[in-house]
Symmetry: C3
Subunit: 298 residues, 3 copies
């Protein structure tokens, strides 16, 4: 089914101004000194043994939407790197042009039934739990737009470098689609941009252009698009000179209370999502959304 390929949660938003580009993508060139650790097709992992820096490239065309398969592979890749002592830090980036990730795949929520929806949501929780409390340093090299779950992946990192292009946008646009961000996604945003900006952001489902995202602190730095990955690598290399044990404890001290909230409410959060998304009215909404996607493609 062809919808699967571009049914990320944020894709439709691109119609209404979030980002304005839809040309075909091209594979990026890969350096030759890297060890390719990738066993999956949706995420390419390269670990540079010279500096301990792993680059995870999302390559799930056309918009890196996060279906159950993607989430499962992502989770496994994160786990492998966490256990790999030769890996000291991880960079998340996209192999697709102009898009970091369009977020969760609608096709996993539409007409799939409560059981699949529950498994899907658990996998999404799992990514957040792993990435937000990751023991190694992480940097998001945001070389395109990031919608909803795509924005979340970036928010979980220790630092966010975005391509300095106002056509790229990032944010939690769930509300625009009639969906509500879960509390732990809200907490993650509050921890980055504060209470007030989060409130406005979630109420209106705002997508911020790269310069706006910098201004509110949603990303930390803007650089020219062709410097995103190299800047991330250089920044990470510099940070790896700082005592890692103290870094890790400091990170945990900041994030543990937020992580513990979901751990204490994980089942209820799954039930909450499943009840919401399988409701007739909300399935209807997704149907309309997919119809709009189909029309856009045509």
């Amino acid at each position: 089914m062809s919808f699967r390929k571009n049914s990320g949660i944020g894709f439709l938003s691109t119609l209404s101004g979030g980002c304005r580009h839809g040309r075909p993508y091209a594979r990026s060139h890969l350096g030759s000194n890297n060890r390719n650790m990738s066993t999956s097709s949706k995420i390419k992992v390269e670990l540079d043994s010279s500096n301990g820096i792993a680059v995870m490239k999302f390559q799930n065309p056309p918009v890196n939407s996060m279906g159950l398969d993607f989430l499962t592979e992502f989770s496994i890749s994160l786990e492998k790197l966490e256990l790999d002592k030769s890996c000291r830090g991880v960079i998340l980036t996209s192999a697709q042009p102009r898009i970091f990730s369009a977020g969760l795949d609608i096709m996993d929520m539409y007409g799939t039934g409560p059981e699949h929806c529950g498994a899907f949501w658990k996998a999404f929780q799992d990514i957040w739990l792993k990435l937000y409390s990751y023991s190694k340093l992480t940097i998001a090299a945001i070389n395109g737009s990031g919608f909803a779950g795509g924005c979340l992946m970036a928010m979980c990192c220790d630092y966010r470098i975005m391509a300095d292009d106002p056509r790229y946008a990032i944010g939690l646009n769930e509300t625009q689609l009639g969906i509500v961000a879960p509390f732990w996604l809200k907490d993650t945003l509050v921890n980055i941009v504060g209470h007030r900006t989060t409130e406005l952001s979630l109420q209106m489902g705002i997508m911020y252009s790269a310069p706006e995202a910098l201004k509110i602190g949603l990303v930390d730095q803007l650089v020219p698009e062709d410097k995103v990955l190299s800047t991330a690598t250089n920044t990470l290399a510099k940070w790896l000179t700082i005592p890692g044990h103290a870094q890790e404890i400091s990170k945990s001290m900041m994030r543990k209370p937020t992580v513990d909230k979901l751990l204490a409410n994980r089942e209820a959060d799954v039930k909450n999502f499943v009840d919401f998304v399988t409701k007739d009215s909300n399935q209807k909404y997704l149907e309309m959304y997919l119809a709009a996607l189909k029309k856009k493609k045509a």
Copy 2:
């Protein structure tokens, strides 16, 4: 008793620089397409059936001070609009020139005894509880200065647009008058401007000029005075195109914990206020304050 007319909590502060204007007021012109729903004399409510936007205009001359009568009418108006399905959003603004509201009316605290003070405070709590958790979208069209309780009304809204005039000021100036803002007012400010700015703001009772208020995030946008109401209307109309159910749940997710804190401590908070304000030393303070007001008027 003529004090009633200008005994708002922040009025005297205008002497010491908060805002610098005191000319007579004029009624603003009202559009002709609106349905006047007002049954009260202190608050004029107009609902535009074409877009579902209600405008509440405070018309309690000269400074929209909030006495028990005003609070009661305000509460009833808010309730009516919340139940009215044709109303989709509410704009708060002032019919008085140069002043949004001077805040709580001192005359309800001076020499009125514990019972009246308790009822007064409960009515104030009630306004906050209703407005801060209002199910419909709200925008403050701040077309003049807002002191203490007047600032609070604006802070409860989902968005704040203020007249771009440095002579207008907004803030919680209670400390300047020897009074302490209650914890829920403090919480509301923390949610908007953060912990540090709140600390300084409350310790010194700072009134921020419109440009300063924008800088610290106490208001969201400045526009020329004659565009405040139209900008609020246009903004609200735009927001009403976003799925309302997701908006409402998002708002509740952000504000419920703050609201629940007062709900769990409402009686203690009333007692705390009554004990404080009826103390001889504090009644003395209010007496001095009213004497200063009288002198100013003369």
Copy 3:
């Protein structure tokens, strides 16, 4: 032992760019109208009876490192001034050139054994508890760099005025030295600069130049170095015209929850520090640090 004189926690950091100065210090000139209340040699206290403002000058050459002796004297001085009704506000500043304070003295942690380390940490907790909940107004006149515990002293004040010189830096650089800031130090920073800036700051042990510190809100105001003390005095004098009772309650309302967290966990926090610092690996770290200091001196 000569290390004692410059073994503050942040001293070495000055090598790696935090601040770039190391010339010999000179005593600052003292005004003639002040009553010298100092009974100690490490902190000079002058109370100006004309305005009730006390100035505490750290004079522990060369870098105002905070050993157990310093902390004890500091605590006693704070207590005396709190009980002294003629004192209405306190300014903290340094008598040493170019340095506010280098923070805790490493010599109190290296080779001193668990008992001494425990007493030392308790004394440090005590300073924070006293200063963060001080009933009188406090202003930090930061006339040089402030590292770790030195930064904390400034963060506890009600307002921070720093010398406008990019060579001066301020921050919590513990992580750079392999040490982790305790939770209450973290909480204090969160209360000032918010969650995100704190996270980055602690993970990387960032020292901010004066202009950077202003930008993130770690300090409130920059003035020319020779105006730091006079600006602090004038600001404090102005604030003393505001009702003090309301000021004090407002301050307590903002800070009490943070203070209560340490009060409820004081013993565990001491144990945590002692266990960490007396570990062989961490003692080794301090040894290397002291060797680097020695080399720098040579």
